[in-house]
């Protein structure tokens, strides 16, 4: 087990190393120049050169890369060109929103997707099933920002029930009641993803229901409800669990659009803005962290399979 984890971690690190090179090259292919963005309209060429030297942007790319990686290995993701602050701090600032939004969204996804998926599967072939599956497919086909804009229009601007945007930290002031700021965004973000989980749960339930061992379970006199929960659902969830993991990882970055609509200070929006500002260290740092998160979740999902599914041989 330990060996397996170590081996997988090693592989993940190799992926991370490859990813870091890709990120770096990728970032420096972006045209435009952070210097101009920073100095604005009236900068003189001398000012530009001075700043470039100060930021180390005049060195060759490999040199810059090794400086970056060297610092990353020491836990230093660099300093934002735009904010003049450590990238780690900037990421930590955005991480609360992103992680909390992803978590709340995940709760919605699990609460809505799984039970409704089970309901649809157990009512397979009826109009309930068809209705639920249809709605799920529709939800998966709606652009999130469109949902978000209309949710704001209805619940915040017209009814005034919920805040329209922004997110003050739960830890700093206002306490957990600040979670209400995340209600609309999380619903927006959850809609298509819950729909996908619903469909996955349903399909997976239907597939498992056809398995021989379900027939065995019924043949040994177990009540139908227990057959569903213990034999069908449990095995069906095996397929869904990995989807949970990847959905969570994706939520962090796919939330960009939602974060923009709801003006949330998350890391997705930060990347987009940093791209527009050519704030290389921030883009690099955030993407590296997101990739890292993805790999960690990937690893956790794989390890969890070891516990969920005894058939899995750890290769």
């Amino acid at each position: 087990m330990l060996i397996y984890i170590l081996r997988r971690t090693g592989a993940a690190l190799a992926t991370l190393a490859a990813a870091s090179v890709v990120i770096f090259i990728f970032i420096h292919l972006i045209p435009g120049d952070p210097i101009y963005v920073m100095l604005g309209d009236e900068a003189t060429p001398e000012q530009v050169e001075a700043l470039r030297t100060r930021l180390g942007l005049d060195r060759s790319l490999p040199v810059q890369y090794f400086y970056w990686v060297g610092n990353v290995l020491q836990g230093d993701l660099g300093t934002s060109i735009f904010f003049q602050e450590p990238v780690t701090r900037i990421i930590l600032d955005g991480a609360e929103t992103s992680l909390l939004l992803a978590t709340v969204t995940m709760v919605w996804i699990v609460l809505l997707g799984v039970p409704v998926g089970v309901l649809a599967a157990t009512r397979h072939g009826t109009w309930i099933d068809q209705g639920l599956s249809g709605v799920a497919m529709l939800l998966a086909s709606i652009p999130t920002f469109w949902v978000g804009l209309y949710l704001i229009l209805i619940f915040a601007a017209t009814l005034g029930w919920l805040p329209s945007s922004g997110y003050p930290s739960v830890f700093e002031e206002g306490g957990i009641s600040n979670l209400r700021y995340l209600l609309l965004p999380s619903l927006t973000l959850a809609a298509p993803n819950a729909a996908l989980i619903l469909r996955l749960t349903r399909a997976s339930m239907l597939d498992v229901a056809k398995e021989d061992y379900v027939r065995t379970a019924r043949s040994k006199g177990i009540r139908p409800r227990r057959v569903v929960t213990r034999h069908i659902l449990r095995n069906a969830l095996l397929a869904v669990v990995s989807a949970f993991g990847f959905t969570f990882a994706a939520l962090i970055s796919e939330a960009v659009v939602t974060e923009t609509v709801f003006a949330l200070p998350g890391i997705g929006r930060m990347v987009v803005q940093s791209i527009l500002r050519r704030d290389y260290p921030v883009i690099q740092g955030v993407i590296l962290v997101i990739v890292c998160l993805y790999l960690v979740i990937n690893l956790l999902v794989d390890i969890s399979y070891r516990f969920l599914d005894p058939r899995v041989e750890l290769e």
Binding site: G125, E211, D212, Y213, R215, T216, A217, R218, S219, K220, G221, I222, R223, P224, R230, H231, R234, N235, L238, L308, D309, P310, R311
Partner: protein
């Protein structure tokens, strides 16, 4: 004890509705093995699922006839009520020991599950009972094996676990649907021997479904031969094999290779088995039958009897004339 009368199982929708199993009747007696033989598509497995109440809904359903256990009609009952009855119900074991056990639960738990339902015991008592059952099906190191997962066992062992689960239901009738087809011959022999033994010990009635005439011959007390969704011949094992009445039974026996027979050509039955619904009147075997005459494809054959309990549905039964 368990009797099936005029069972009709149908499938398909609207005008495409067809009978997969038509007018099947048989009885299972305590301590006896009834072998149900037939080639693939003959409807033998569908019959067994119908008895157990496990027909895949809504593709297949029982259109007519009745299934009675101890005189009570269970045709409409959900499967769990068929298993759970005062003096023992029906239990079943399946063909594929590989896929018939839940892969993510230890086998002990899967047995305990059945024990809980049927004995009402829980905890250590149920676990002890599970171990007892494993001993009964002669799985070595039963206590250790309770924690094993299905994929850690060989095919033969898995089938023994399936039998243990069935025994946990304390059934008076056991349906075995090709339980040894996926096993090697040396293992098959042992599993068959176990079934025979349990049948005798618990005075269980067994419905043993197989395509292998050899297996039926060695295991069963009486035999029913299915063809095209119908039982074409039924009788005590020695009578049926010594003096088959139906040309299909005889033909089938001829096709079976025999290692002691030496190098020779195989006897064959020309053509191939009809698909369900393909032949609706007359004798279903007529197109392949060497004895067939005009009447065979027009009129449904009548039942002929050769001594007690040996029947066949044929216009021109062979052993009688010959």
């Amino acid at each position: 004890m368990l009797s099936v009368r005029n069972l009709v199982v149908s499938g398909g929708k609207g005008s495409a509705q067809i009978d997969i199993v038509s007018d099947v009747s048989f009885e299972i007696e305590r301590g006896k093995v009834l072998g149900l033989v037939g080639e693939s598509g003959s409807g033998k497995s569908i019959t067994s699922l119908a008895v157990m109440g496990l027909l895949p809904h809504p593709q297949l359903w029982v259109r007519g006839g009745s299934i009675e256990l101890d005189g009570a009609d269970i045709t409409e009952e959900p499967p769990y009520l068929r298993v759970e009855r005062g003096h023992g119900g029906v239990a079943m074991i399946f063909q594929e020991p590989m896929t018939s056990l839940n892969p993510v639960l230890p086998i002990g738990e899967q047995i305990v599950e059945a024990v809980r339902v049927h004995d009402g015991s829980t905890g250590v008592t149920a676990r002890n009972r599970a171990q007892e059952l494993l001993d009964m099906v002669r799985i070595p190191d039963a206590r250790l094996q309770l924690n094993a997962y299905p994929h850690e066992l060989s095919g033969g062992m898995r089938q023994r676990v399936m039998i243990a689960i069935a025994l946990a239901c304390r059934p008076q009738a056991l349906i075995a649907d090709e339980p040894t087809t996926a096993l090697d011959v040396t293992v098959q022999l042992q599993v068959l021997s176990l079934i025979r033994e349990l049948c005798d010990t618990f005075d269980m009635g067994v419905l043993f479904i197989t395509h292998d005439l050899g297996v039926v011959s060695e295991l069963a007390d009486s035999v029913a031969v299915m063809y095209g969704g119908k039982i074409v011949e039924t009788g005590p094992v020695e009578r049926l094999f010594n003096t088959p009445l139906h040309p299909y039974t005889a033909g089938l026996m001829g096709c079976v290779p025999d290692p002691s027979a030496g190098h020779r050509r195989f006897q064959t039955i020309p053509g191939q088995a009809p698909k369900p619904g393909e032949i609706t009147h007359g004798c279903r075997f007529a197109p392949r039958c060497s004895h067939a005459q005009a009447i065979c494809s027009d009129d449904a054959p009548t039942r002929v009897t050769e001594g007690a309990r040996h029947f066949a549905e044929c216009h021109f039964p062979i052993s009688r004339g010959a």
